[in-house]
């Protein structure tokens, strides 16, 4: 551990070393006031010599902004929020903004606690994200908020969501291109909005080539394996299965292999999420739909920055 006790040099130390006033230092380093180039250089040199790093607390107080945004998530697993966080961080760090992480673990009490903490920190904005695409209760704070992945129930709030409909439809189009004519769909619980949307979009896009009904179950490999047995019993001649998640798709693939159906020769299988752990390990590697969550995070952050700057984009 490095030395402590000696507190870092402030703007005053720099001022003394450069033999100017503190305000001059501020102007020189921020390029504000009209200063001679020689003075600026002198200040810059002194700052560098002392290893001066401006204290953002003072800056925050003076500027009224904290250059910090909060991210509230309910997705402890990080399965969906991680890429979003990465994208958001990417867009934010360009603007010298920091991101404070708050994982509520789905506990309303915790969420309340974190919210108060963020308000107390005078965060410039808040990103709210979750594990499901179901709309969630909006949060009530006097700060710009952008919802990512799980939109707010209030349509006038700014929300960035994935295009489940388009994703599922493009999957079907892809299969049509490959000449598949009898498509089935295996997905997660019907109680999940994303499962319903993907199923509906699949049905719609494959109306003439769909066989049977979508199968709702759970987001697991086990369910994928079970579903294959059901499908092959009822519709033995199907030639494609679109799955609501990569996990399900992998289960489907595994079971098809065990039953000596060639993939994708006899039956084409598609996943959803582009979870590399699943897609790469599957045999054969899966065709899947990438939700582009990192891009989603980036756009969320960009929208938030715009809202902070005063140009909200509702809806």
């Amino acid at each position: 551990m490095a030395s402590r006790g000696t507190r870092p040099p402030g703007i005053k130390e720099v001022a003394k070393l450069a033999d100017v006033s503190t305000s001059t230092v501020s102007k020189a380093l921020n390029g504000r006031g009209p200063l001679r180039a020689e003075t600026i250089e002198r200040v810059r040199l002194a700052a560098e010599q002392l290893g001066f790093v401006p204290d953002s607390r003072g800056r925050a107080l003076a500027s009224g902004r904290s250059f910090t945004v909060g991210l509230i998530t309910t997705d402890s697993s990080g399965r969906f929020s991680i890429p979003i966080v990465l994208g958001a961080e990417d867009a934010l760090s360009a603007g010298e903004m920091a991101l404070v992480l708050c994982d509520t673990r789905d506990d309303p009490l915790r969420e309340q606690h974190y919210l108060k903490s963020l308000v107390s920190r005078r965060v410039d904005g808040i990103i709210v994200t979750g594990r499901r695409v179901e709309p969630r209760e909006p949060i009530d704070v006097p700060i710009p908020v952008v919802y990512a992945f799980s939109p707010s129930t209030d349509p006038s709030d700014t929300s960035v969501v994935v295009d489940d409909h388009g994703g599922a439809a493009s999957t079907v189009r892809h299969l049509h291109t490959l000449g598949r004519k009898r498509i089935a769909h295996v997905t997660g619980p019907e109680s999940h909005l994303s499962a319903r949307i993907r199923a509906a979009a699949t049905l719609e896009a494959a109306s003439t080539t769909f066989t049977g009904q979508p199968l709702f179950g759970e987001w697991s490999e086990r369910w994928g394996r079970m579903a294959v047995d059901t499908l092959l019993r009822d519709r033995p001649n199907l030639d494609a299965i679109t799955c609501g998640s990569d996990q399900i798709a992998r289960g489907v693939c595994d079971r098809l292999r065990e039953l000596d159906r060639s993939v994708p020769g006899d039956v084409a299988v598609t996943g959803y999420d582009n979870w590399s752990v699943m897609t790469a390990a599957s045999r054969p590697p899966l065709t899947t739909v990438d939700m582009q969550l990192e891009e989603l995070g980036r756009r969320t952050a960009t929208l938030l920055l715009a809202a902070i700057a005063g140009t909200p984009h509702p809806g």
Copy 2:
């Protein structure tokens, strides 16, 4: 989005409403000075009525602390850092501390940038974590630092690491309890320290029951499947395979199933990491070693808090 423009009430507004001075408000709300119960109640009421939330920027400036810790990680996937973050957050939020997240993506430039940002924010402490257990270059800042998962190369720094040796040894003991006598080991690249440690510990613990040499490869299911073929060709009578990761273990299980070897009847298989995605989906569910990363994060944060309070625990 809630209303903006009207800036939140400050301590001054509360003071005016309660008809006391600002210092009295501070004392009342923080329970510092000697005040009459009646006064405290009056202030408390006024604060609540105005929805007053103290501005932590002012507090940070006055108290000299920012009540914030930075977390620097190189593990973009979040595979290992997520549980650590969760644990750390857990321990920190108890102390009203916030956590700002910095993902370097293994880019030294980015790391430097984030480091400067954290120093500028006068963070109270920093947690450094990574994707591998290899020791890493210590960071040089005048702030308490605790390394988690990837220790610092400087032994006088505070580092919290996983007990790979103990974990591997306990696996072997478990297998001995089950009566297994011919144990093999399949793990990741020999260039990875954790693979070497686990292999060495396995060899040591199973000295009399180990068959052949540990197999080094990669952290993938594919390698697990390949390794089974190699093992069964050279040592067809083995009765247990300990794997360096759950992914490898799953590949091993899958391949054994394909070859009609019963698991765990003929061959027992153990994993490492307790990655539920792998262990639960495997058939049969895997026995694995839990690294207790969340606990590691919690302990890291606790150590950091101690260091911030002035009681460093080097080594």
